[in-house]
């Protein structure tokens, strides 16, 4: 469970995040939806403890990352905005490195890889060096790396970027499996269909502020239109778009 309250962050002259409040519950998929530059990535970076908020509170399973960053990171699996791999290591070695950094033994890492690989169709890639992987292949390895320690909370920043249709479908399947096993899944996207296809909850962010939040049905009702995309455009275009 991830709870975020009145987050704010400024980089120099740019107020990246103004006022973001939402809650991502366990066993649900929460989508952070917004146009480019809305403050989604900065919000996720603050949740993952990589950026310190100027104001506001974060809670991850009741832990305050500002006070206990390591404990908070323990409970997160993060697919960050940057998702570089080590080109001279194989996919398996890349994933295992993160497993070891999280204190997992060899057996648990092997078991985790064996469990994740079929979901993401990683099998044939595992023992190849990641140099020369396609963008989609790299993304899959990065997602596997984020999930190797079976985290309670999964944070994915634009996870479908660069994936082809088939990979996108297998990723959606993997996210549904995570939800079924009771995890808290929070992901960001600027693609309406993506969010519509997966999310139980939608948080629409624009200009660093939450402009709407709720179930897809509630969002539609609030915007006063049947089409989610139309609702998104109307709501996201509303206040504080100063960029």
């Amino acid at each position: 469970m991830i709870r975020v309250e009145s987050l704010a962050k400024r980089f120099g002259a740019v107020q990246a995040v103004r006022d973001v409040t939402f809650e991502a519950a366990d066993g649900r998929v929460t989508g952070l939806l917004g146009p480019n530059g809305a403050g989604k990535t900065t919000t996720l970076r603050m949740i993952s403890t990589l950026v310190a908020p100027d104001a506001g509170r974060i809670e991850i399973d009741g832990i305050d990352p500002a006070r206990e960053p390591l404990a908070a990171r323990e409970r997160l699996g993060l697919l960050s905005d940057a998702r570089g791999l080590y080109a001279r290591l194989t996919a398996r070695e890349n994933i295992a490195y993160y497993g070891e950094l999280r204190g997992l033994g060899r057996d648990r890492i092997d078991a985790a890889i064996a469990a994740i690989a079929p979901q993401l169709e990683l099998g044939p890639l595992l023992d190849r060096r990641t140099d020369g992987f396609s963008q989609g292949e790299r993304m899959k390895v990065a997602i596997a790396r984020a999930l190797v320690h079976d985290p309670r909370n999964v944070v994915l920043d634009e996870p479908t970027n660069g994936l082809d249709v088939r990979s996108t479908r297998s990723l959606r399947e993997a996210i549904r499996l995570l939800r079924e096993s009771g995890k808290c899944v929070l992901f960001s996207s600027h693609v309406m269909q993506e969010v519509a296809a997966l999310c139980d909850e939608i948080v629409i962010v624009a200009g660093g502020t939450v402009v709407a939040a709720g179930t897809p049905a509630a969002i539609r009702a609030r915007a006063g239109c049947e089409d989610l995309e139309e609702a998104f455009v109307r709501l996201a275009g509303e206040p504080g778009d100063d960029r």
């Binding site: 990589l50 390591l70 323990e74 998702r83 070891e100 950094l101």
Partner: protein
């Protein structure tokens, strides 16, 4: 469960071992640069001594100076007739020095008049120096003998002619001469860790940023200092490996080649190797940490490489400055990284004993500075501006 520090260290080492740049650098540093330079210098130097050690003079117009020829033959000197175009040959360096005897030499010599010879040489060629000085010495000896005999013939003590007798005592032991010539070994000793630690330092910091792997890495529940220390240790290990290989290369070259040609020049054996490593490995701790710190500021591998190469330039200037300024060794220099190591390494090569300060001060300074640099790296890794590029 492996300790996190070991996990970071081993990953960086594995990554580096698979890097072709590392392999190339190790090859260049250890196999080529050091030993090849050593062999070139050794053969150059031994060439110099060889030229001078066989006594040989070239004379143009030897038939005009039978007395001189007689003297030289008695002194077991090989006399060669100079070709007629000796002037041009000396100029182009084919001949080192030629004694030119004019036609009236013998007559004047017999008449006890001033008999001139010319010594033709080219001052601008250092390699002709020994042969020129040798010819000068032989002529001076001939002069002395002539004067001696003439004074004797007149019943005068020959010692009148020589109020001061100069005997040369060269205090430079052969070993010291070698150390002066082999200024190069300490210099390579200083440069080897810079070369050896560079790739890992850059790749594990600026490289991580460039690949976009730094952000997810730092999201792991591992304190930033563990990453800083692990990466530093990996780059130190790489530097140490290159230093060891370079020095072993010198040892091999000294054993196989230089010892036969010039035993006096190169006294670089296992004890010297051990002393070198004891001095350079702590220095490598510092240079690697500094490289890591500098590269952490680089947004790309290229950019970091540029910054780091400035460091190598500065470090390689130090030996040159010491060499050309003739700076006297002073205590405080021991505490200056690179300068202190250079001093101690030269003492090792000269065969001087090392005091405990020599051994400990440079190492202690290097390790303390390394610690500070690594702490600074850990700080930077927690800095948003570094992790996410310059905002």
């Amino acid at each position: 469960m492996k300790p996190r520090l070991a996990v970071v260290f081993l990953k960086e080492i594995r990554d580096a071992l698979r890097d072709r740049r590392t392999a190339l650098m190790i090859l260049v540093a250890s196999v080529l640069t050091g030993p090849v330079t050593l062999i070139l210098v050794a053969s150059f130097v031994s060439g110099l001594e060889e030229r001078a050690s066989t006594l040989r003079v070239r004379i143009a117009g030897a038939e005009n100076a039978p007395a001189l020829v007689n003297f030289l033959e008695r002194a077991d000197v090989e006399i060669e007739k100079a070709p007629s175009d000796y002037l041009a040959r000396v100029k182009e360096g084919a001949l080192d020095a030629v004694i030119v005897v004019p036609e009236d030499f013998h007559e004047r010599w017999l008449a006890h008049e001033e008999a001139r010879v010319e010594l033709v040489h080219d001052d601008s060629r250092t390699e002709s120096g020994p042969a020129t000085r040798q010819a000068e010495r032989l002529l001076a000896a001939f002069n002395r003998e002539t004067a001696y005999l003439r004074l004797m013939a007149r019943g005068v003590s020959p010692s009148l002619n020589e109020s001061t007798k100069v005997e040369r005592v060269n205090t430079a032991t052969p070993r010291q001469r070698g150390a002066v010539l082999l200024f190069l070994i300490p210099m390579f000793g200083i440069l080897a860790p810079l070369l050896g630690g560079m790739t890992v330092a850059i790749d594990s910091t600026a490289g991580e940023r460039e690949r976009g792997s730094l952000e997810p890495l730092l999201a792991n529940p591992v304190p930033a200092r563990v990453f800083a220390i692990g990466k530093w240790l990996a780059s130190w290990a790489s530097a140490t490996a290159v230093v060891t290989l370079t020095m072993a290369g010198f040892l091999a070259a000294a054993r196989l080649y230089a010892e036969k040609r010039l035993p006096s020049l190169l006294n670089f054996g296992v004890p010297e190797l051990a002393a070198f490593l004891a001095v350079i490995v702590p220095l490598a701790a510092f240079t690697s940490a500094l490289q890591l710190l500098i590269s952490t500021y680089g947004r790309s591998y290229r950019e970091a490489q540029t910054y780091v190469s400035y460091l190598a330039t500065v470090a390689s200037f130090v030996p040159l400055v010491v060499m050309f300024s003739g700076a006297k060794e002073q205590g405080w220099q021991l505490a200056v990284p690179v300068l202190g190591q250079l001093m101690v390494l030269q003492r090792v090569l000269r065969g001087d004993g090392l005091s405990s300060a020599d051994a400990l001060v440079p190492a202690a300074v290097a390790l303390v500075l390394a610690g500070l640099a690594v702490a600074a790296v850990a700080r930077l890794l927690r800095d948003e501006r570094i992790v996410f590029g310059r905002a």
